[in-house]
Amino acid sequence: MVPKSTASRTARVGIDTGGTFTDFIVASEGGVRVHKVLSTPHDPAEAVLRGLEELGLEPARCEITYGSTVATNALIERKGARTAFVTVAGFEDLLEIGRQVRPHLYDLTPSCPPPLVPKELRYGVTGRILYDGTVLKPLSRKALAELRRKMQGQGIESVAVCFLFSFVNPAHELAVAEALGGLGVPVSCSHRILPEHREYERASTTTVNAYVAPVMGRHLERLSRSLGKAHFRIMQSNGGSISAARAAAEPVHTILSGPAGGVVAGLAVGRRAGFERVITFDMGGTSTDVALCDGEVTLAAEAAVGGVPVHIPMIDLHTVGAGGGSIARRDPGGALVVGPESTGADPGPICYGKGSEVTVTDANLALGRLDGRWFLGGTMPLDEAGVLRAMKSLASTLGVSRTRAAEGIIEVVNATMERAIRVISVERGHDPRRFTLVSFGGAGALHACELAERLAIPRVVVPNHAGIASALGMVMSDVKRTYVATVMKEAEALSARDLDRAYRRLESEGRREMAAEGLARDDLILERLIDCRYVGQSYELSVPYCRDYVAAFHGQHESTYGYARPEQPVEVVAVRVHVTGPVAPVVLPKGRAPRRPARPRLVERKAVVSGGRRVQASVFRREDLPVGARLRGPALVPEYSATTWVPPGWVAQVDRLYNLRLERGR
């Protein structure tokens, strides 16, 4: 269960920081343990350290993979650093103009989120490099001194630097970085973050990095200090992990860190349960992430997070601001709105004892679908009376009954999540009826069946330890990193030896870095890829490198675009090495199917509201359910970190991996 190269370490720990809870999973020789502590948004490290302590783990003997939402939240909530943007004079508005297109074609009143850098923090300096790397106008010391002077006293906390053609010649970016060294704030240079042409996309990606860098840097530094000798890695947006040091310098790669863990786990669980096509549904406290995996994790090279383009490969994910902590209120038009505002962990829903605004979690409690006796194993009492009081006052502003208000909240939030799933399925030509919904996150299983019903998804799988699936994904993620070198030469002018030399340089860099991460040379998987295009095209295709890679490129072009031009010269844009440090699979406990379906032990019957009526739901403890157990809805299945709601008409069955498999009964 431990990577061969680090066999001396005893435990692999996956940690996922959510808006409300920080989840832990510990995989060791002894099996799998899970744990949950309340998140500490003012200092997410606090919850991480407390959880490790509560688990009694000695950091030095742990291999920790951590999914951090610090960068993501800073970007989405626009709470990142006060960031300055430095570029060539005359192009200061680059981030605002973007590609000059409007987001929706048929929207008469289009709007865009404001740029990350306000007008007054955009700086232009004279200094111009041309497309071939030659310097047209040098960047003078005077200009740099002037820039530094102008930037002082502006309260700048981070700087993004993007000069035209810096991916060919980074001299001016380096000079600016050096000149601004004295400011004592992180400086992100575009030639390091995304060494590719197209200034807007490069600038935007770099600015995101700068915007989140100070927050992420502080956070990781604190954790690294406290964790001492632990092997400590951060989950990246592409589903693989990297070292904490690199994540601190290039946090843009972790922008979808936490959710990526969930998708990796969701697909892995789905596969082991026998379903290759899954839609992962991760409903947390503040938001819900959905992703579609048609047999494998889908990566998108060009994504936008919080409305800002980020051009690095990441899991193709759709997020909506609806979760257990989403606040329900009456809008001025008299409608019931839920989210996107959330109470988060602090103060949290009313039922946690501190909050004052009604949330989705409170609605579930009011409907009888949650119960303080089971919640987190009964360690956290829930304030039911407080919820009923607040629900009553919300109901009276809406002019409906208390139960109707509570059910309305669930209906509205389900509609938002339905829309999210439509975006990644039907809108991309996938029929949800052919997929399995894998539901996790603390709140997911309370909503999954009703959601599946709305979308005609035939089956829901709620994995064992559903509440901590993202953390599970962390321990299942391989170490991944890609090394690229730009070539930009015609294939005819390149010898196999030239290419081989370039590849070997990348590979030795990869081996060195991976060794520093504690991975043995022999375990690494190195893949050589080559990016080619026809001379004159501007998008390239990546094909596995082989002796006759030109023929492979023609073939790939033919199959991707329906034609090839074998008579056209081919240009090699870049060589690329994917380095993967595989991690041994986590063995999940597996049971044996009994001859006769086992009869689950009923805990009690409980009144639950469903479809406007009060029904008697059977309650079963998840840990009591043997393999093969079958239960009919209405039923509730609480476990330590989540509760599954089986609506009337649905049937749940426990599979051999202790997953709950839910289908509409016949």
């Binding site: 005359g90 605002e96 297109v101 008469l108 053609f165 197209r198 039907v426 998008y539």
Partner: protein
């Protein structure tokens, strides 16, 4: 066959994803920066009758008029299995000569006698010959505007007709680029064809055909519903183009929009007669503009297909600037007049729904073309770009800065792609601060784009709203008119809105685009 609401939603997205995929293929394999970077192209899927079934959200001025190209192709060049038709003639289903359209039939069963669907794409080629590089000249007849291609068979049973390609390439300034772009257009239609064949194999022919029909009916129902919410009445509006580039005479476009129940009648009677210069529009442009405006008035999620147009009737009197007679020049009708047609339509609807309609946006595409011989790269070049402006403000809020509005939505050419491919240097690309019209909600700002030419070249600018700014509404001030300059050192010359001239190495062309109109009276502080 009954199509349930889930199937309707699934097919809506399946059909438009066919069109989207065609677009991705075209953009990825195109050769000219205008196609690969600016994405100045559109793709759509049509049913057996040539009615539009789905489109990708590309360029509005292309989309509404493509059905006429499919009609013309069907009528003039019958298409067998594996054939593909090429065309650009504005008087036979086209819009202006640089927009070349490729139409392909999609046959499904081996015994089928006629196609079950059509796919088509339209791409703006940076040059199709004619008087000046870029093929948007200040012409007085269409013969001067470039090569006119009636519907011709370009691909016959899967084999490209080399003779047709040779004829086209012999008449354009940058044949290599054109050849690459045409190959990309062929590939795009092939992808569309392949996806539709797969779709029928997976879902069944009857279901796919029924879904296509059901979606058009659905779009029609939704459009009628939206129209019913507009008060009955006749609403008039008129506005002007600055001039035709050959005289100083403003050109009036007038419209009367009559709403009755769930129907709308649109009549352009009262519009000025066609002019000598190239701002004449052909009728397909009017249909594109009407389609765009109607589509904007209905829900954002509505599928865009032929059903949206069923509740509408349109009259564009022949011989006017909105329905020019052969052989009037039309290059600017597509890019400039189309925008003003939208302005008058929205102005008329604003009288019916004052809170729902924004003030006028930039109202011009500020077309910049440069061409000549690149002495560094030793090859001829033609460069084409349209430049964004400000959006009109509305009751909802201020207008956006620096985006393309209404009939276009092309991207800019990244500076790094531009300077790599052409003998230019971009000197400045910034917001034109303060150019949005004042008001309770101010209009969005336009932009400034300054390009230094590094070798002698032929410059053509086709722009409007250089004399009068985009109108404000409900007391909001108009946006600032655009401005074109040519400068070298301290010598600055103001250029007309529509101009063609030779420029010398070292000269800088500056385009200042209009801001959007303001909305509502600004409150005194």
């Amino acid at each position: 066959m009954k199509i349930d609401p889930i199937a309707l939603e699934v097919f809506k997205n399946l059909f438009s994803s066919v069109a989207e995929e065609m677009g991705v293929a075209l953009g990825r394999t195109g050769y000219s920066p205008n196609i690969k970077e600016r994405r100045d192209y559109s793709c759509a899927v049509f049913d057996a009758d040539g009615q539009m079934a789905a489109q990708a959200a590309h360029i509005p001025v292309h989309l509404g008029s493509m059905p006429l190209a499919v009609m013309a192709a069907r009528a003039e060049a019958p298409m067998g299995r594996g054939d593909m038709v090429i065309m650009n003639d504005p008087y036979r289903g086209g819009t202006h000569l640089p927009d070349i359209t490729l139409v392909a039939p999609v046959y499904i069963g081996s015994r089928d006698r006629r196609p079950l669907f059509y796919v088509a794409n339209r791409a703006h080629h940076a040059d199709v010959g004619g008087m000046t590089p870029g093929s948007l000249p200040l012409a007085t007849e269409i013969y001067q505007e470039g090569l006119r291609i009636p519907p011709l068979t370009l691909v016959c049973r899967g084999v490209v007709e080399r003779d047709v390609v040779r004829l086209v390439l012999a008449n354009v300034r940058t044949p290599e680029e054109r050849e690459g772009d045409l190959a990309a257009q062929i590939a795009s239609n092939r992808i569309g064809e392949q996806r539709l064949v797969e779709l029928v194999a997976a879902r069944g022919r009857r279901t796919v055909v029924a879904a296509m029909r059901a979606l058009q009916d659905y779009a029609e129902r939704m459009t009628r519903k939206a129209i019913r919410s507009i008060p009955n009445g006749t609403y008039r509006f008129e506005d002007y183009l600055d001039d035709d580039g050959l005289s100083d005479q403003p050109i009036k476009i007038a419209v009367a929009v009559t709403v009755r129940g769930d129907k709308v009648h649109i009549d352009f009677t009262g519009t000025d007669p066609q002019v000598r210069g190239s701002v004449n529009a052909v009728e397909p442009i009017v249909l594109s503009a009407v389609f765009y405006v109607v589509r904007c008035l209905v829900d954002l999620e509505l599928p865009s297909n032929a059903g949206c147009m069923r509740p509408l009737t349109v009259v564009a009197p022949e011989g006017t600037v909105v329905n020019a007679r052969f052989p009037a020049p039309v290059a600017g009708g597509n890019v400039e007049t189309s925008q003003r047609i939208v302005d008058v339509l929205l102005g008329a609807f604003a009288r019916a729904m004052p809170e729902a309609i924004p003030a006028a946006s930039a109202g011009t595409m500020s077309n910049l073309t440069l061409g000549g011989y690149d002495s560094v790269r030793h090859r001829p070049f033609t460069y084409y770009e349209t430049i964004a402006g400000g959006v009109g403000a509305s009751a909802m809020g201020p207008g956006l800065n620096a985006v393309h509005t209404h009939m276009t939505n092309t991207m800019n050419t990244p500076i790094e792609a531009l300077e790599y491919a052409y003998p230019f240097r971009v000197v400045r690309y910034a917001l034109r601060r303060g150019s949005g019209g004042a008001g309770r909600h101010p209009g969005g700002d336009g932009v400034v784009r300054e390009v230094e030419v590094l070798c002698d070249a032929s410059l053509t600018i086709l722009s409007d709203r250089r004399r009068r700014g985009p109108y404000g509404l409900r007391g909001g001030r108009p946006g600032m008119p655009g401005l074109n300059l040519l400068r070298k050192g301290r010598r600055v010359e103001v250029l007309p809105g529509k101009v063609n001239r030779q420029v010398k190495a070292g000269q800088i062309v500056s385009i200042y685009t209009p801001g959007g109109g303001g909305f509502g009276r600004r409150r005194k502080r």
